[in-house]
């Protein structure tokens, strides 16, 4: 019965969350556009599916994934597990399992991210099928995995965040000049899309747990920044993915030239 109450509460909270968006949509639709929506009934049913689905999704996450993820993050970063002597300070090699966990969780939560599914579907539709839904999602998830792992490394070593971000921006700028025009907007978008409902809470918990457990780190100052890493690295990995697909297509085109692409 507890789960039923939780579901109803979450459903109410989700409805409250979407109220501003729905209000804005309605106000503009009714007072400004004043046009009849095609398939209005279907759209309303779709909206109900989205809100109900999101509420169920959140309840499931809070029941199953988030508590487990938080406990595991706390256990993996605890000095008893890493074997760090408090007085001696942290050595970055004590935390190899933490980096592995960060990468695994970053990858896995991104694959389950509903917003990323949405953008991949759109990308497939407008690219005429040259962008694959799963391929794009794997590329983004790979970027998040690398980003979060590097972010935990930064918290362990305590090196300044701007140093990393600026280095990454320089790489993104260089990659942009080597990429085809049609992938650039999608790549830039993928960073913001990857960090949503599933990824943010787990990754934040990991960062705060790590910053609390390591001697000399403040959770309030050093705990931040993991999301930023998770946000920037997919840009690089999506541009790399586009480059790789183009290269594979060229190889294939060379081997069977008579077949239309």
């Amino acid at each position: 019965m507890e789960i039923l109450r939780h579901t109803l509460n979450t459903l109410a909270a989700t409805i409250v969350d979407v109220t501003p968006i729905i209000t804005i949509l309605l106000v503009f639709q009714v007072f400004f556009l004043r046009q009849k929506l095609p398939n209005a009934r279907r759209i309303v049913v779709g909206f109900l599916y989205v809100v109900g689905g999101l509420a169920l999704f959140l309840v499931g996450l809070e029941e199953a994934l988030f508590p487990l993820g938080r406990t595991m993050a706390a256990q993996l970063t605890a000095p008893e597990f890493t074997g760090t002597a408090r007085a001696a300070g942290a050595d970055w090699r004590d935390y190899l399992w933490v980096y592995a966990f960060a990468a695994g969780v970053g990858f896995a939560t991104t694959i389950a991210e509903p917003a990323l599914i949405a953008v991949s579907l759109k990308a497939r539709d407008i690219s005429g099928g040259t962008i694959h839904v799963l391929g794009l999602r794997l590329a983004v998830a790979f970027g998040v995995a690398v980003g979060v792992a590097l972010g935990t490394f930064r918290i362990v070593t305590g090196t300044p965040l701007p140093f990393y971000i600026i280095a990454v921006y320089v790489i993104v700028i260089l990659q942009t000049y080597c990429s085809s025009k049609s992938i650039i907007p999608l790549a830039y978008d993928s960073g913001g899309v990857a960090t949503s409902t599933v990824t943010v809470p787990v990754v934040t918990a990991l960062g705060l747990g790590l910053a609390t457990a390591i001697p000399g780190r403040s959770p309030l100052i050093d705990g931040f920044g993991l999301i930023a890493f998770a946000c920037v690295f997919p840009i690089m990995s999506v541009m790399a993915y586009a480059w790789l697909t183009a290269w594979l297509l060229r190889l294939k085109g060379r081997s069977d030239r008579e077949k239309p692409r």
Partner: protein
């Protein structure tokens, strides 16, 4: 009806496939690395079923509701031909979707506590609440501005990389000037603004606009709105830190 059921089952299977990596990662770390049994496994399994069914409904609802709505509205705005109306709508959508976003509320509260730690604001509840609220409003305004810039870009066909790279350079310059305790929060706030309902709507709006407007290619011009929404919050929050921190 059977078509409906079959489609639902196919989406459900896809949802379980999407959750497989999480199950693998958690099982591996729990059993192999931490070497501990699963705490209350029934609850976890029930949770997984909820997540899968929720994801299935969500994806179905996207295709039925959010995508067509975004496209229909983009089409209606283009036909109406009012630039002010479209830009007002873009700002309102960005601001409204962000200001009540739970992830942002959490980050703003954390940010306020970091500010007391750094002795930027006094350590009393009123100062904390006011700091968090102003931080949230700053981010919400920045997302509104982002969608306005993004929509203008689609209309005018400006190449996105000049704008984004220019934005990066501004962010780098601001980073060197801003007080250090705001930097982490600023970078993180860029990631938390894009919620699960806003993203599909905004993506459909952008693609819809790029499809309707003559001379625009949806593949090149349709995306990019979300990119602005993850960049402007960083700038605005860094400036916020400089104004409030006042060093």
């Amino acid at each position: 009806m059977t078509g409906f059921v079959r489609r639902f089952l196919r989406l459900l299977a896809a949802a379980f496939r999407d959750l497989l990596p999480i199950a693998l990662v958690i099982t591996f770390f729990q059993l192999v690395v931490l070497q501990q049994p699963f705490p209350n496994i029934e609850r976890v399994l029930i949770g997984v079923v909820f997540v899968a069914v929720g994801l299935t409904l969500f994806v179905r609802g996207l295709e039925m509701g959010l995508f067509p709505l975004g496209e229909a509205m983009a089409d209606a705005f283009a036909r109406k031909g009012s630039l002010t109306g479209l830009l007002t709508f873009a700002f309102a959508l960005g601001f409204g979707a962000t200001v009540a976003e739970p992830a942002l509320i959490a980050v703003a509260a954390e940010g306020a506590r970091a500010a007391t730690e750094a002795k930027v604001i006094a350590d009393d509840p009123d100062a904390l609440t006011s700091y968090a609220l102003h931080l949230r409003l700053t981010v919400a305004v920045s997302v509104g501005v982002a969608l306005v810039i993004g929509v203008l870009r689609i209309l005018k066909g400006w190449p996105i990389h000049y704008l984004i790279i220019g934005g990066y350079i501004v962010v780098m310059a601001l980073t060197t000037m801003a007080p250090p305790e705001i930097v982490g929060i600023a970078y993180d706030s860029g990631g938390v603004t894009t919620s699960t309902i806003t993203v599909p709507l905004v993506a459909a709006l952008g693609v819809g606009l790029a499809t309707v407007i003559r001379g625009r290619n949806p593949a090149i011009d349709g995306f990019g709105l979300i990119a602005f929404a993850s960049l402007t919050p960083i700038m605005f929050v860094l400036v916020f830190g400089m104004v409030v921190g006042g060093r």
